[in-house]
Amino acid sequence: MAFSNVILVFMISLQFGMYGMMIDNTLALFTGHLQVQANGYKDDKKIRQTVPDAAALADRLSETIDGARVAVRANAFALVSSADRSFGVQVVGVQPDKEPGISTLPGLVVTGSYLQGRSEEVVIGSILARNLKVGVDDELTLIGSGKDGSFAAVVATVSGIFESGIAVLDRNMVEMPLSLFQETFFMGDSAHEIVMRMPGLDDVPLAVSAVSAALPSDQDLVVHDWDALQPGLKQAIQADIAGAWFMYGVLVVLVAFSVLNTVLMSVLERTREFGIVLSLGLSPGRLAWLVMLETALMAILGLLLGVLIGWAVTAWFGYAGFSYPGMEVMADKFNLPARIFPQATMLSLFLGPGVVFVGTLLASIYPALRIHLLEPVQAMRAA
């Protein structure tokens, strides 16, 4: 029982750690923890809805918000053409020196290299590269419309090809230096998003209010946290949580049954002894009470041991990280952390063992009731 409690504590803590990591990994790829945008841009991405003087504002924010990494982005739709093909894509202007701080995408370049700071270069997704039949150092033409609605076009060299594993990005995205973007699409010094990444997911709520406070009041800018930016993410995780709870439920029921079996066996085993003490004048009620007390003590011991050892194991892996075979390879491929850090919270520590504790007490009721049916003479005759 103590053992199963240890497992429960560790599993639930690991699970919590995993959800945190899943969310964070998803956000780390591109979205970031929070973004500053023009009011309304999130729901209707018009190129006109800009953040003015974005780079300067970003610098100010990175100074005022502790531990935040900040980068500026601008977005537009364009038609990209190689020698023989054309596709519609999303063009993203990024700050090549700052983008790696908020996005893992720069680390996912599989051929060539990320933006080098040359003036007319782009990186594109692997599927797009295949569709366009282009490789590194090939030239692409991008045609779209600028901020003021006028015709915008640029020719740029492919410096790198990334592979994120996310089809939408690999098929539809082109990244170019922000300066080239601003020039091409007549943006001036404005952009569309200031993307921020905090040290941890837990820091986001505080950061949101801090950023809101730091925004210039004369412009119509808003802060969106990751939940607003990626509404599906939390639901997906919650669906997974529901599945996990079911698994833990099954585990708890199994433990309860094994306890029931143990207690029942320990009662049956001692039928003769129980017969003796009953015949000597111990009342069945008191004997049943003693058996329940015995089980309760066992359960308390199991609870304490389970929580203590579970907490220790979780704390160790929380410090050292937990990885399973094959995880490193995956992590390397997707430019993600190779370890999960289980989170020991009050909930993860006590939830499993607590339910097992209650289950144990409930499971001891039936054997205790059986004692009332015991006939001393028959019981003593039992071998």
Partner: protein, 229 residues
């Protein structure tokens, strides 16, 4: 005053499709302070009768009264309480608690009664000395001979100075010297504490101490005679 009154007790056991007579219309009255021997051949119903008197087994019909109270209808809890405070049992099969030492076995009943540890210890040591087991207090039953276990069982039955002792073949495994000592102890208790004794036996030595001998055969009382000691 009447210690035990049995009226028309019947008890049959069903084993497979066979009916076995345990008690057959047994009517018996024992006064407080009597020293009675139940004598019967094996299977005659001695144990069954003692169990009925001690409230360990419910008769099929008839009434059992102990110390002026009818007990055959009582709940298990009430019966346990009655045994705890009024009756000392010496079982035919000793029925010691195997995981407890001699001393702990003797102390057990007092513990259930809720007596303080010091008093328990003192009384247990005294009574173990009385039955001649000094030095064996801390032995487990499995490490004792049949006779020694039987004496622990006797010590356990008399340590609380109950009003009545029901003893089932208490001398079956004792040599004649030890058996004599034990009977002297019973007689002494009977004299000084007015303890009622009902002893099931087919041991001639035991019968010679009894003032009354009740003979059973196939669950029926066939003879009930007083004798001088």
């Amino acid at each position: 005053m009447t210690a035990v009154r049995c009226i028309e007790l019947c008890r049959t056991f069903i084993q497979g499709d066979q009916k076995i007579t345990g008690l057959d219309h047994v009517t018996l009255e024992v006064e407080k302070g009597e020293f009675v021997c139940l004598v019967a051949p094996s299977g005659g119903g001695k144990t069954t009768l003692l169990n009925a008197i001690g409230g360990l087994d419910r008769p099929d019909s008839g009434e059992v009264w102990v110390a002026g109270k009818r007990i055959d209808q009582l709940s298990k809890g009430a019966l346990a309480e009655m045994r705890l405070n009024n009756i000392g049992f010496v079982f035919q099969a000793y029925n010691l608690i195997p995981v407890l030492t001699a001393r702990e076995n003797v102390e057990f009943v007092m513990q259930v009664q809720g007596r303080p540890a010091k008093e328990r210890r003192e009384l247990a040591e005294n009574v173990l000395a009385e039955v001649g087991l000094t030095g064996l207090e801390d032995r487990l039953p499995a490490k004792m001979s049949g006779g020694q276990q039987q004496r622990v069982a006797v010590a356990r039955a008399i340590v609380t100075r109950p009003a009545m002792v029901l003893a089932d073949e208490p001398t079956a495994n004792l040599d004649s010297h030890t058996a004599e000592q034990l009977m002297e102890l019973f007689v002494e208790l009977n004299r000084t504490h007015k303890t009622t004794f009902i002893i099931a036996t087919h041991d001639q030595r035991v019968m010679s101490y009894a003032r009354r001998i009740v003979s059973l055969l196939d669950g029926r009382i066939v003879k009930d005679q007083q004798q001088a000691t």
